[in-house]
Symmetry: C2
Subunit: 194 residues, 2 copies
DNA sequence: GTCTATACAGGGATAGAC
DNA sequence: GTCTATCCCTGTATAGAC
């Protein structure tokens, strides 16, 4: 394996290890030593790839968003009606395997609230997500109101996922779908501003 | 001031200082030394009142819930129609001064996801909140569906508040009220289980 | 009931070797 | 590109004095 290939491999290993440990033990609880060790490398290698622990965190989150967008897009194509597509969105955030993501999301929020730079990056990521929701209208007519309410759509998904995590089963798919349906199909929900 | 009075005073000071610092710097970022110092005491006094940093955290959160329930109940009484009451709920979580609470909430979630005991206490607190929402039906008829959807109501409030924090103004009061209205007035939203 | 002093542990980041 | 060794800082919790 040439050095360049090893470098790419090391970066990937570090990102995976960091994602796992940040989710399991929190940002503060996951030491750079532990991350490097799980990746089969040492701290030296880690700092050769990322300037700081924070930069590593941002890289982890960015990679996660890209991966998820791809997966969700594919699942939306598989559904064959409006209900099915809304259910896909709910499934994406509520399935048990998303618990890891939710844990990481709370960590990032906690971190961002206190670090202006991190907050900017968090905001940029959500704006990107909102745009993705808005663009669903180009593909399916039932999302006609999604543009104006995209932040609310994401907020509802996030909030319901949280409740579902404290008490699994407390949120039914029907509840989620019906709430989302109200938001995506009402372009004028913001008020009667003509 | 007698010793008993001083003890009560010290406990109150510690709780206030802890709430402030946990919100400002995170649970991990707020040292017990800093908390004690802000309260005008020392670590010794802190450990005289709370067995550990975790116990202090739980006490802070419990106190916050009790205070908030009282405030929200009072504001609900002041509103004079259904829209107004839903707007009160939204105001309670979205006003700028609630940012501190939201920060603390993320901290607690991050903490709870990794600590089973803390998760139990978090769950118990949410169940208590859900019950409070359900009981609104006894007071106002428009909350007839709140019982079945209480977790969703709380989830929506939380999720929308989060979006409003990353991008202030992205969620209008109209959006929040309309979404909440769907949930509280639909006893059968869970599906056609008779 | 509260303070001071301290034991004890752990983490982020860097320097220099290979 | 990666490793080893180390600096330096900070934190939780306890012991014993007052």
């Amino acid at each position: 394996m040439r050095q360049q290939e090893r470098k790419i491999d090391t970066r990937a290993r570090l990102l995976t290890a960091a994602a796992d440990l940040f989710a399991e033990h929190g940002i503060a609880g996951a030491s750079v030593d532990a991350i490097a060790q799980r990746a089969g490398r040492t701290v030296g290698a880690l700092y050769g790839h990322f300037a700081s622990k924070d930069e590593l965190l941002f890289a982890v989150v960015d990679e996660w968003l890209a991966d998820t967008a791809t997966v969700v897009a594919a699942e939306l194509e598989l559904a064959d009606d409006a209900e099915g597509r809304l259910a896909s969105l709910w499934q994406a955030v509520s399935q048990p395997s998303s618990a890891r993501w939710l844990a990481l999301e709370h960590e990032v929020w906690s971190h961002a609230i206190r670090h202006p730079l991190a907050l900017d990056r968090l905001r940029a990521r959500y704006v990107e997500t909102w745009q993705g929701i808005a663009q669903l209208a180009d593909r399916w007519p039932e999302f006609s109101g999604a543009g104006a309410n995209a932040p609310a759509v994401v907020g509802v998904l996030l909030g319901l996922a949280m409740m579902n995590q404290v008490s699994p089963g407390s949120i039914t798919q029907e509840m989620a779908v019906r709430t989302l349906h109200l938001l995506i199909s009402s372009p004028d929900i913001q008020g009667a501003t003509p």
